[in-house]
């Protein structure tokens, strides 16, 4: 096997980033150009949003539950077991709800987009679409981007709510806490900054999931093997970008929203 020089590798990476930025720019610009393919957006919203609901609900529930369980152990030492609701609420809404939902949706949909579009590339369906006078970026990428961003917002709200319910389940059944107190603590502890941060993140993560999935799919080369490679790369890149993006966005929002 021929070894690639570090310079070529670096050039290749820079080129990929440049292509990705141009790709994202084009996908966004298409929102302001006709046709908009509204029916495709609705279809994708159903596939991405409704289709992801089971895994989002399951992930949210068990995350909230395990969070309550872990927190109870520590809080009990300080005699503050009643603050479980507060801890689950803050963690879920600010951090775990958006991030875990995004990782789940990335695993399901970035891979799906990459494999679907990749298969269309290698079977010349994308070329056929262009030959038939349709812009594949408008028809395939922009509706997926709109649907993912839109649905991620609502999926995260559902995940947060189900996570709190998972925490309640542990608080009630194992910790024998009062349900009303749990909900009161969970609700009272949330401030505008928490909710704003928790609902802004899924919008950015939805953008990452859709653009990464579509980017790797549209650039798939080399037959079925290339489609498989594109699918793996899409999931890995989307997951890493979500986690890295989360760090920077959290730091940025903490500074902007003046967190104590």
């Amino acid at each position: 096997m021929e070894l690639t020089s570090p310079t070529d590798l670096a050039k290749d990476r820079v080129q990929t980033v440049q292509d990705y930025v141009l790709f994202c720019g084009q996908a966004i610009a298409n929102f302001f150009r006709k046709p908009l393919y509204f029916s495709d957006m609705v279809r994708q919203a159903d596939s991405i949003g409704v289709g992801s609901l089971p895994i989002v609900v399951l992930t949210g529930f068990f995350t909230g539950a395990v969070l309550a369980l872990q927190a109870s152990n520590t809080l009990e030492r300080f005699g503050s077991i009643t603050l479980v609701g507060q801890l689950v609420s803050t963690s879920m809404v600010r951090e775990l709800g958006p991030v875990l939902t995004s990782l789940m949706v990335a695993g399901r949909n970035s891979s799906g987009m990459a494999s679907e579009l990749g298969s269309m590339v290698v079977t010349e369906q994308i070329d056929a679409m262009r030959a038939l006078g349709t812009d594949p970026m408008k028809k395939l990428v922009t509706p997926r981007l709109a649907a993912t961003v839109f649905m991620m917002f609502f999926l995260t709200i559902i995940s947060d709510l189900v996570g709190l319910t998972g925490g309640l389940f542990i608080a009630k059944v194992l910790l024998r806490l009062d349900a009303r107190q749990y909900w009161f603590n969970a609700w009272e502890t949330l401030v505008f900054q928490d909710v704003f941060m928790g609902l802004l993140k899924p919008v950015l993560f939805g953008f990452i999931i859709a653009t990464i999935g579509c980017f790797y799919g549209m650039n798939a080369r080399g037959g079925t093997q290339g489609v498989g490679r594109a699918t793996t790369q899409a999931v890995v890149a989307a997951s890493v970008l979500i986690l890295a993006g989360d760090l920077f966005l959290t730091r940025f929002l903490m500074a902007v929203l003046s967190f104590n």
């Binding site: 079977t123 010349e124 369906q125 070329d127 030959a131």
Partner: protein, 282 residues
Amino acid sequence: MSAPTLPLERSTATTEDTSSPVIVFEDVALAFAENDVLRGVSFRLNRGETKALFGVAGSGKSLLLKLVLGLVRPDSGRILVLGEDVTQMREEDLFKLRDKIGMVFQESALFDSLTVRENVAYRLTEEHGIYDDDIDRRVREVLRFVELEHTLDLDPAELSGGMRRRVAIARALITQPELLLYDSPTGGLDPVTSNTIVELIVKQRDVYKTSALLVTHRLQDGFTMATHQFDQKTNRMVPLPPGQHCEVPMSFLILRDGKVIFDGDLNALAHSQDEYIREYIS
């Protein structure tokens, strides 16, 4: 086989006068990495003419069709399609030009998430936004032309290779384009199905006078097209009497090492003294 008629009126107005060439390649070159695929290719396709493109695998035949559509841009040279220079056009303008061109891809390239009906109607539904009665009528007509009306609601995966190829032809024909591009339409098919497709191409040439560029590996397909014409009375393809083979608008182009080594009619091909060509057609 007798092919049914296609009672469609040409929906697109002819762009240029009838004497102007439909495609002009002027010294077109294209390389991928270190590999020079095309090295100064020049030829022209006249209106109403069908030109069969031959060459060994990897000689750039399919690439020529993608260059015509503007799906790939050349490194140098000029390509005029229906009077417009596709090498200088923006993608948005190319979409308008592509409305006048029909393309049949090598592996059909049907959209596997759509039914046969939706595939064939694709271009019309994109234009009109909805699938209405008029579109349905035209879809049925064009599918009847390729004898596949019964497959309307099937998925492409449920069709055989030959049927998929015919659906792809129907999809290309539905707007009665001014120019048709066929990429190995008979590749990998049995002789009976191949003959059916050749007959459809000949009918399109002789009845609807559509200009076409045809990539093929099968010499016999080109020879059949050059030695037959479509008889509208009997509604079938019939052989031409010997000596009249040059009367059909059919020509041949052979690519070798990225260059055109032959461009002419059947008579010139049969009498070529070039050793490579003689070996190729023998």
